[in-house]
């Protein structure tokens, strides 16, 4: 090979590589030159240019889909917040404690779902949520709805920071936590002081969610199957939705343990 040929090969290769690198950085403004020689470099350049066009189109489509999905999550969150605000407004017309408590329970359920949509549209990955962030934010919100800013109920978290879950499973999990924690606030602490522990971990095959309090628990004579509150019924139904094995813990307070498969 003479130096002129070597130089030609070097130049064409570099030019094509430059464009490939630009495409790798999602810069689709560049194109490789196709000469009239119709040699193998022109064929590669032609292929690279066409690949760049296809890639650009896919990236645009993907960006449009992401934007659309974000918009959907945003709107769902806004609509849920409107429902929550309407309930608040309705509650402001009454002093009936029982009605107010019902409104609060419903509002908390709605907020637990709206939070998921808010986290999804703010997240880079539109399909998954960090479990630890979500549980901490959710419990903070439940705490403030029951105690205002003067809470004597302490939360202790033992949550694996790197677990991410899709919205499909995060919504029932959020609702379960909401019911369990709300029940603790309502019944477990007559003196409004106590500890609520939340554990979320992953083994090789299963996730384990445990929510427990150190409150007064249930009377010994009450059988587990006799629980009738909507909250507990909901926990049962939502556990089934997760295909989870539900265990009720009755030592030093009341708690719930759910085991469900990592693979959805």
């Amino acid at each position: 090979m003479n130096p002129q040929e070597a130089n030609y090969i070097q130049e064409r290769t570099n030019a094509i590589l430059d464009v490939i690198m630009a495409y790798a950085n999602l810069d689709f403004t560049q194109k490789t030159e196709i000469t009239d020689k119709e040699d193998v470099f022109d064929a590669i350049a032609s292929g690279v240019n066409m690949l760049g066009e296809e890639l650009e189109n896919s990236v645009i489509t993907l960006q449009e889909r992401e934007a659309l999905l974000k918009e959907v999550h945003h709107r769902v969150k806004n609509n849920l917040q409107i429902i929550s605000s309407l309930m608040n407004l309705q509650a402001s017309y009454t002093k009936d404690e029982q009605f107010l408590a019902l409104i609060r329970e419903c509002r908390n359920r709605i907020i637990s779902m709206s939070m998921i949509h808010e986290m999804l549209y703010r997240a880079k990955d539109l399909s998954k949520i960090n479990v630890s962030d979500y549980i901490r934010t959710l419990t903070l919100s439940i705490n403030s709805s029951f105690s205002g800013t003067n809470s004597n109920v302490v939360f202790k978290y033992d949550i694996d920071d790197v677990i991410y879950l899709e919205a499909e499973r995060m919504i029932p999990i959020g609702l379960i936590i909401n019911e369990a924690v709300s029940n603790s606030f309502k019944y477990a602490f007559p003196d409004c002081r106590g500890l609520i522990r939340i554990h979320f971990s992953a083994s090789e095959t299963h996730f384990c969610l445990r929510i427990s309090d150190n409150g007064i628990g249930l009377p010994e004579e009450t059988k587990t199957e006799e629980f009738e509150s909507l909250g507990i019924q909901l926990i049962g139904t939502l556990s089934e939705q997760l295909s989870a094995e539900l265990k009720i813990l009755r030592e030093n307070g009341l708690g719930y343990e759910l085991l469900f498969r990592i693979e959805n």
């Binding site: 196709i34 009239d36 119709e38 040699d39 193998v40 022109d42 064929a43 590669i44 032609s46 292929g47 240019n49 066409m50 066009e53 296809e54 189109n57």
Partner: protein, 131 residues
């Protein structure tokens, strides 16, 4: 491929209907085919027969490039035209690249094959005539 005097002389193509009922279009050497060129050619091809369908022989030898919009137009346009099949003749590395890309990535909706010579391409198209 001999271009008859009756052929339409378009921006990037010579296009005509053969006596055998097979339409032909030949890319001009060094053409960089864009959407408007694809549309221009399509208007001519669609004007050959209104009521019956026919196959199309495309001589892509000498093509320099074809932009994505043009590839997509040719691909999806097959649904709305009277074209029954595409036989594409290629030779150089560049026309091979364009042809293969069109076939594998753009995925035309009518039967399409690449050929290295005109005779075998015409032989293949014969079976699509008068359908």
């Amino acid at each position: 491929m001999n271009i008859p005097d009756t052929a339409y002389n378009l921006t990037c193509y010579f296009t005509w209907m053969g006596d055998d009922g097979i339409a032909r279009t030949k890319v001009k050497k060094g053409s960089e085919v864009k959407l408007e060129h694809a549309q221009e050619n399509s208007v001519v091809v669609n004007g050959f027969y209104v009521d019956s369908k026919f196959p199309l022989l495309i001589d892509a030898r000498g093509i320099k490039s074809m932009e994505r919009e043009a590839r997509t137009f040719f691909t999806t346009n097959g649904r709305n035209t009277n074209t029954l099949a595409f036989a594409i003749i290629i030779d150089s590395s560049v026309s091979k690249a364009v042809g293969n890309f069109f076939l594998a990535i753009s995925k035309p909706v009518i039967p399409t094959r690449l050929f290295l010579n005109e005779d075998t391409a015409l032989e293949w198209l014969q079976k699509f005539r008068n359908k």
